[in-house]
Amino acid sequence: MNNQKILLVEDDEILGKVMSEELKEAGFEVKWVLDGELGVKAAQSGRPDLILLDLMLPKKHGFDVLSEIKSSPATSSIPVIIITMMGQDDDIKKGIQLGAVDYIVKSQHAIAEIVEKIKNFFAKEQHPTGQ
């Protein structure tokens, strides 16, 4: 049973479409926005269970989105996973320092693997001692 809410912040139309459709198919409720500003707004209004956050975003960079989410008491407890491209290791490090729980390198995985990772994330959340 998983009707957890996922907020997807991804500016690439195709990658965003594929991820959001596949996550929906896996049973998640997905809200997809295409820029950083909308990302912050949707985090505040939608109270998702998980945020998937791209970094290179129009209007507001992913780092700023992350900082704002983490510094606002209303949203600070929402786990954020960075979804990035290969070759941005420095960015990953910085993202983790800013409070992201994990990262996924998009170009390294088939979409099925990414969905699997998200499922595993929620499974772990529910059974923190497991795995």
């Binding site: 690439d12 195709i14 990658l15 594929v18 596949e22 290179m56 491209m85 290969m86 070759g87 941005q88 290791d89 420095d90 998009k106 170009s107 088939a110 979409i111 099925a112």
Partner: protein, 378 residues
């Protein structure tokens, strides 16, 4: 040139000549392209050449009598200058490094600096000589190149990833004819190759800029290699290449950088498939040694021609017969693999007979060090 120099005879008027020679030396130093200064044991400037004036923007009159770097330095961490002085004054060794400085007009520049103590007969410091070359332009060019590669690879990856995901979805969800499925699988393989090429270029640029970082983490090597062999086997399925990996310890726990290690094995294993004709064989042996592990990967491929063997680990080098098996290829796989092996503190070498096959040998430490740098390999 005077004839006396050729015959190595001592000139008659030795004194006069040495004065002339000294003048020549001074002229050479005065007019050298690099910034050259001499200081006393406390670092107070006694001499500065023309390039020092030109590069720092301060005149000789301004420079001489001040402490070296007081006018143009001070931008680095305190610990940097401490180390510099300790090296040249206490350890009496020469120091070299890149220093960020500031010209009189406020503009910052990067200098490759080397400072050496000149010692007297008793081993005491008599004076210091500092030579600096302004490498700002080279640094900027290097930075621009690395930024370009990084941006280009990001921009290339996004569409490539889109294509791969979409093909994956079509294969999974759509009804396809047998031919259609086959074409799409080929398209998938081609895009994987493209994304691999982008990775290789990025790795090359990282190695070139000397900014590779290594993170030593626990890896179980038997599982690691088995998985890679399996992946390669899938690549080679069409060519019916048979892989054998039977000779290995029950378990081999090592500490190494996952990405560097993947890079090495992937390159060698992929090459076996690319350069082995249909129905060939590849066998892998893994062995634990005292402080290292040893792995050999043999194929029945086309081999590396004798005349190419010495330079096969070079950049942009492919065997003369390589195009017969695979037309595409840039010739950087083995270069990066060798650099990665050396970064991990190991060795890689091979034996090859053209037309018969090649065996690559890899020996790496069971525990590799971590190295701080900007980025890991991909």
């Amino acid at each position: 040139m005077r004839s006396s120099h050729h015959t190595k005879q001592k000139p008659k008027d030795g004194f006069k000549d040495s004065v002339k020679d000294l003048q020549k030396f001074k002229l050479a130093v005065d007019n050298a392209y690099d910034h050259i200064i001499m200081t006393d044991t406390e670092g107070i400037v006694l001499y500065a050449n023309k390039a020092a004036e030109k590069i720092t923007g301060f005149s000789k009159a301004e420079i001489i009598g001040t402490k070296a770097g007081a006018l143009w330095g001070g931008l680095m961490d305190k610990s940097f200058y401490k180390k510099l002085w300790r090296t040249i004054k206490i350890n009496k060794k020469s120091f070299s490094g890149e220093i960020r400085n500031r010209r009189k007009n406020g503009e910052e520049y990067i200098a490759l600096s080397s400072i050496a103590p000149v010692l007297d007969k008793n081993g005491n410091v008599e004076f210091f000589v500092g030579i600096e070359r302004d490498i700002t332009r080279e640094k900027m060019a290097e930075k621009a190149k690395n930024e370009f590669v990084s941006i280009a690879s990001h921009q290339l990856r996004t569409p490539v990833t889109s294509i791969q995901w979409l093909i994956e979805l079509i294969l999974k969800k759509e009804k396809l004819s047998k031919k259609g499925r086959e074409y799409l699988k080929d398209a998938y393989i081609a895009t994987s190759r493209l994304s691999g090429l982008v990775d290789t270029l990025l790795n090359l640029s990282r190695i070139e800029s000397g900014s590779v970082s290594l993170v030593s983490e626990p890896i179980e090597l038997v599982k690691f290699i088995s998985r890679m062999v399996k992946e390669t086997e899938m690549m080679g399925a069409k060519k019916k290449i048979k892989f054998t990996f039977k000779d290995y310890p029950k378990e081999l726990n090592i500490k190494s950088d996952f990405y560097a290690l993947s890079n090495i094995f992937q390159t060698i294993l992929t090459n076996t498939v690319e350069y082995t004709p249909d129905k060939g064989r590849v066998s892998i042996v893994l062995e634990k040694r005292k402080n290292t592990f040893f792995c050999s990967i043999s194929d029945t491929g086309i081999g590396i021609p004798k005349e190419d063997q010495a330079r096969i680990f070079g950049q942009f080098v492919r065997g003369g017969n390589a195009h017969l098996q695979k037309s595409a290829g840039v010739g950087i796989g083995l270069y990066v693999a060798k650099q990665a092996t050396e970064l991990l503190g190991g060795k890689i070498w091979f034996e090859s007979i053209e037309g018969k096959g090649t065996t690559f040998y890899i020996e790496l430490p069971l525990k590799s060090r971590s190295v701080k740098g900007e980025k890991q390999l991909t």
